[in-house]
């Protein structure tokens, strides 16, 4: 079954929320126990559906997050590359120092021959 569009679910939940508010108002005004029980039972039914609709909305909204997160992940990769570049640059400087030390050692050794 194809997923219901996000806006349609949102509209349904909005209608249910309004219906729930009406029932709440009726209960606030109720003075008789049987009437109150009947309203409460309908409120349970509506609440169950509001929760289901909320669950579906959250599922759809969060499933769309991964596409948006991809743009942020790209920036993470750029930061990782910049960190690698800085480390490589540092290593290059250290390599030159090591090379010069090696040259000195070679010259000192040559002098002893």
């Amino acid at each position: 079954m194809p997923a219901m569009p996000n806006q349609s679910i949102r509209d349904i939940q909005s209608s249910l929320v309004k219906r729930f508010a009406q029932l709440q108002k009726l209960l606030d005004d109720a003075t008789e126990i049987n009437e109150a029980m009947a309203i409460f039972r309908e409120m349970q039914e509506v609440n169950h559906r509001i929760t289901l609709a909320g669950s579906l909305l959250f599922a759809q909204d969060t499933s769309a997050l991964s596409d948006k997160a991809a743009g942020v992940a790209k920036a993470s990769n750029q930061a990782a590359k910049a960190i690698r570049d800085a480390a490589e640059f540092r290593q290059a400087l250290a390599a030159i120092t090591d090379f010069l030390t090696l040259v000195d050692d070679a010259i000192d050794l040559a002098k002893t021959l």
Binding site: I39, T62, G71
Partner: protein, 297 residues
Amino acid sequence: MLTRRQFTRVFCLIRLAFAAVVVSGLGACAQGPTASQIAPWRDAIGAVRDQSDAAFAATNALARDNQIAFAITQPRLNETLFHPALDSESIRAWDASLDVLATYAAGVTTLVDPSGSAATGATAAALAQRISLEARSTVFTQRPGLSSAIAKVGAALAQARASAAARDIVAGADPAVQSLLQAMRDAISQTDAEGTQTGVIAAVQSNWSLRLAEVQVKYLSPGADRAELAAEYADILSRRDAAIVTLSGLQRSIDSLAAAHAQLALGQPVDIPTILAQAREYAAAARDVLADLQPAH
């Protein structure tokens, strides 16, 4: 004592040692985010994760209790009656988005960490000293502060380079960060043209209202202890408000993260420690709401 010619020769060589550092630091004029700014932003993401974990768990616990009460009014018992308000797969997708943001912030924090630049400066100074030795110069022994000065200059240039790179990365990432955070905010709740809230907050609101309704019905029963029920009603009202505040607080934390990132992207000063403190406060409140919903053992 070095002759003027020897001095010139030695310093030419030393200049070579960190010429590459200088070149790498060029173009790094504009101020990028500092580690002291971006690290608290990363920590605030962690606090938002704590906040959302507790708020979502509280939402599920609340809905579960009402589902049990609803199930016993139904002719048949089946799984569909106990669909979680927020399913685990969706919560994982939510957490994964926060993880992506945290990884990004950690990368930028590492990039602008002054210790990395200090290491580059120290390496540049070591190279300059080595070149000086190569030239049979005693300039470093004659001037004890020279090595430290070169290290500082090298570190400053390396830091400028890292800061410029971070500035470009943060500015480039800002549209994606804003889009992601806006989508996360909307996943919590949206308000339609008529002012009706939909989403998770709407579900939490109606679930708490149902608990209030249950007390209202009991209140009308013959022989009800009205004083006790009125106190219970007042208690549920407080708990409902606290639960709503944790979710709207989650939205406010997300808004603050988005606003702070936009300012970082523009190179503007940001009061992130306040945002972090706020997110931690909301997280603590969300944990309290959750603890309140846990069955007593």
